[in-house]
């Protein structure tokens, strides 16, 4: 068991937990053509870092352009299309905005 919780990124308390913050959902549950704002990445060090470096930094706004394959999604973030597997999308917590 790792005791160093900090390494798992913040917000991970929300994983498998229905008490999501007001207005928040995980990316795999977002409908197509919805614009969202990144709230929190619930993954550990390396993955978290990879996602951030690909442009998924806190607060960034992006659009979900494909979510019909039971998990993997395609998003349009910072001008590029990214495909994210289920393992990724279910760890990305976002907030919808009008």
């Amino acid at each position: 068991m790792k005791t160093n919780n900090r390494k798992h990124g913040r917000g991970c308390a929300y994983r498998n937990n229905c008490a999501l913050p007001e207005g928040c959902v995980f990316l795999n549950n977002v409908k197509e053509n919805t614009s969202v704002e990144l709230e929190e990445l619930c993954s550990n060090g390396r993955l978290r870092r990879k996602l951030q470096e690909m442009g998924l930094t806190k607060g960034v706004r992006f659009t979900v352009i494909n979510n019909t394959h039971d998990g993997p999604v395609v998003i349009n973030v910072r001008g590029s299309k990214l495909a994210l597997g289920l393992g990724m999308s279910e760890k990305i917590m976002v907030k919808k905005f009008a």
């Binding site: 900090r6 390494k7 990124g9 913040r10 060090g45 390396r46 993955l47 978290r48 870092r49 990879k50 996602l51 951030q52 470096e53 690909m54 442009g55 930094t57 806190k58 607060g59 960034v60 352009i65 494909n66 019909t68 394959h69 039971d70 998990g71 993997p72 395609v74 910072r78 001008g79 590029s80 299309k81 990214l82 495909a83 994210l84 597997g85 289920l86 393992g87 990724m88």
Partner: protein, 636 residues
Amino acid sequence: MNKINAVLVGNPNSGKTTLFNRLTGSKHHVGNWPGVTVDKKEGTIVYNNNEINLVDLPGIYSIFPFSIEEKISREYILENEVDVIINIVNASNLERNLYLTLQLLELGKPVILALNMMDSVEKKGIEINLKKLEEELSIKAIPIIAVKDVGKKELLDSITEISNDKTDFKINYGEHIEELISKYMIKYQDYDERWIAIKTIENDEVIKDIIKHDFDEDYTNQITSKKYDYIDGLLEKVIEYKKSNYIGMTDYIDKVTTHKYFGIPLFLMIMAFVFFLTFNFGGIFVEKLDFLFNDVVASFVDNTLVKMEVFPWLRSLIVDGIIGGVGGVLVFVPTIAILFIFITILEDSGYMARAAFIMDKWMRKIGLNGKSFIPMIMGFGCNVPAIMSTKALEDENDRLVAILINPFMSCGARLPVYAFLSAIFFKGYEAVVTFSLYLLGVLIAILMAFIFKKTLFKSEESPFIMELPDYNIPNVKSVSIHVWEKVKGYIINAGTVIFVASVLLWFALNYNFAGPSEFVNSFGAMIGKSIAPIFAPLGFGDWRAALTLLSGAIAKEIVVANMHILFGNTMNLIFTPLSAYSFMVFVLLYVPCVATIGTIKRETNSWKWMFFSIFYQMIVAWTVSMLIYQIGLLIF
């Protein structure tokens, strides 16, 4: 002459390979998914009394190494004497591309920004204020269109004019982090001090060996965010969008290719189409070439040699051994070329990344992810580059599984065997029979992946993050360069390895310790007879079949060459349709060729896995062929 070491660095699909080929005139592959440029490519350009040594590195999104390719690139940049980094970016998507640029600038090495794809920039109605961009980043920015050779001269000029002065470019990370940076600036080799400090705070794995700290991950988050914030601010100043709401072709095509219901059927249709075209179209050439080699050339040479009164044994060696063997392989050149053209187009157009996306869900069921699907498709062409391309996979275990199952993907060199045998035993159904073998290969690969992931390589689900590049109409020049490279390899192989193998086989079949002998008493027969019993339960316990398989381990197309020499037109006497099918299954599944074995050794860096792969494939091949033959006997 003035020597300059330059290196091409950029995101995948930014056009590095295209630019590299156009600058050096060297020929090598251009692809469209992260992982095609896997090995270091080097070339030399002589320009205005300068000798520029140019290196093409694998595409990277960041200096932080996630996959092996990123490690290769990072190590190269950090550890070599690099005079100038040419950072090539997709100018129509600066926001994400400039992230790497900022990281490169922080390295403190001279950087030139090559703004590629200026044609797309124009099409998308984007206007870039170059002067302002150069000013803000304090580097030179050269607009280019790599595919059209635009901006080549300007780029070369700026490479030769680059000075070694350090840029004073700096991003302000905010009070707290800046304080930390100044605290951790240390002299280490000739690295930039500020860069060392930033990497230290980011708990960078490589630097950590030297300076151990464990900073809060939050600092890394802030540093990354600040870079993107900087880019946002910068782009506001230098970019203007003339066409708002521009919707490119890519979005429309994606609606179909990644569609919930149409995506996978479309993919299967494309593969079936590729397959049948390759087979039917290639078949036309095969017949013509076969006639050319076996009738026209062979009889001409034979007659000439008779007239020249050459020894009969030499005549037999040349006509039966060399022309029969090498010619038997060469007739399949068009088929293989057609297959490679299609696979290259799939890669180069950007479709392969979509295929990976729609297959993610299914690949996950066998414990891999969508990215591992691409090497499998490439394996239909040739297992060697396919296995090399697994470098793009981030997870070590996934990568090993992807390598081990790849040889089951039926490569182009096995196609001649199916074509040859099914033309004899399954006339009229060649395409169906061959398709069934490809399918069997895929099924076995999937089954083995599933078993491996459940037993040897248990690991958590690995991440699947992949950029879907804009579609592009494959460039004729790039595709032909690549296809020619592959076909050339096949032809050279026919002229060398297969030539030698054919000659050796001929001698083995015509001699024994006592000198010239009959076929049945030759060396070859002795060897074949000693291993033939192993294959009896599979339906081909004949010594000739055994000998063929043994030599086929060098390269699978040798099987065809040898069958020409060994059987002539007597195939029907030794094989039944059932045993011929079982034989083809064995050829599909048993040891990959020596080239593939070598690649497995190199890529796994382990003798253990290399021998494991040879051994387990023999077992799989024997078992499956045996089952097919024995069950077939019960039914038919």
